[in-house]
């Protein structure tokens, strides 16, 4: 294209169709139709992946882990969405209760990158240390359940560790999509 389009000499540079200057580019249009078909297929695949939970909040995103000492079973989402709340659930087994209480350690990664917002029920005590927080819940018998509400701030891969004191640690990874 000339530097100054409106100062260049007038000439008929627009491709003609018959005697009408149209500017048609049918080859480009044919390629565009192919691209359109491909992009709609791509969109369908994205929707299918979303329905299955590949981007979180679905069947593929749900995960469950139990520690080797059978003290706790953890329900969480291995794929989370940034700035979107989710619930991580701890199902405590009888072996988790010691001296009328359950002590649950969660690593710092669960607090900051994964944005732990609220824990239910309210722990009787929270103590910091070992790069995390240990919550103490009064408990007498099972089933006993605790929930942590998460709201990840940043996309990416985040590792975390949870452990019932007296049990074995559970190391898990969560992928946060934007």
């Amino acid at each position: 294209m000339p530097e100054h389009a409106f100062m260049s000499p007038i000439e008929d540079s627009v491709p003609k169709v018959g005697e009408v200057a149209v500017g048609e580019d049918l080859n480009f249009q044919r390629r565009w139709w192919k691209f359109e078909r491909a992009i709609w297929l791509f969109f369908l695949l994205i929707l299918a992946a979303d329905v299955l939970g590949l981007f979180g909040r679905g069947w593929l995103a749900k995960a469950q882990r139990t520690d080797a000492a059978q003290t706790v079973t953890l329900d969480y989402e291995r794929i989370e969405r940034a700035s979107t709340p989710s619930i991580m659930t701890f199902h405590f087994e009888p072996a988790a209760i010691r001296n009328g209480r359950i002590e649950l350690y969660v690593s710092e990664d669960l607090i900051k990158p994964l944005g732990a917002q609220r824990i239910s029920p309210e722990p009787r005590e929270s103590s910091m240390g070992d790069d995390g927080i240990t919550y103490t819940f009064p408990a007498t018998r099972t089933p006993a359940i605790a929930e942590i509400q998460l709201q990840p701030s940043f996309p990416g891969l985040h590792h975390f560790r949870v452990q019932v004191i007296g049990g074995q640690p559970i190391d898990a990874t969560v992928f946060v999509v934007p």
Binding site: M1, V17, G18, V20, V22, E24, L26, F28, Q29, E36
Partner: protein
């Protein structure tokens, strides 16, 4: 910063979606298109500003989209190829009185669209059309046959 990134992503996402939705022959926006525009705009705005609804954040998002739009308009003016990708090119629907079936199928044209365009050009019969061009904005330009 995240707002600007989200605004840029949202702009390009909407641009691609609207572009592949194809030109609707007839060019005028119907209720059908209004639903798309409002719904898509509303959804994108949620992820663009997030929880930060401050004037500062929204102003930055608007400025980012404005600058991006201007940059793309500049790119279109410099490159015919970019213009074709973003806006498409005109397409001939009728050439010397002959229907161009490939274009009609590809653009999902209906006879009613062409009849309406013919009436706008004071052509009473489709058979009297010499050339019909589907413009980039979806409007159909009609040129009657010289002997019509």
């Amino acid at each position: 910063m995240p707002t600007i990134v989200h605004a840029v992503i949202g702009y390009f996402l909407l641009l691609v979606i609207v572009r592949v939705l194809a030109r609707r022959p007839g060019s005028q926006m119907t209720l059908f298109e209004f639903v798309l525009v409002f719904l898509m705009g509303g959804i994108i705005i949620l992820s663009t500003v997030g929880n930060d609804r401050s004037v500062t954040n929204c102003t930055c998002a608007v400025i980012a989209v404005g600058l991006l739009h201007r940059a793309i308009a500049w790119a279109k003016s410099r490159s015919r190829r970019i213009g074709a990708i973003l806006d498409g090119t005109p397409l001939t629907i009728i050439r010397r009185g002959e229907w161009q079936q490939e274009v009609i199928r590809g653009m999902k044209l209906r006879p009613e669209d062409l009849e309406a365009a013919a009436r706008s050009a004071n052509v009473t019969r489709v058979e009297d059309i010499g050339y019909a061009i589907l413009e980039r904005n979806g409007r159909i330009s009609v040129f009657p046959k010289e002997d019509a």
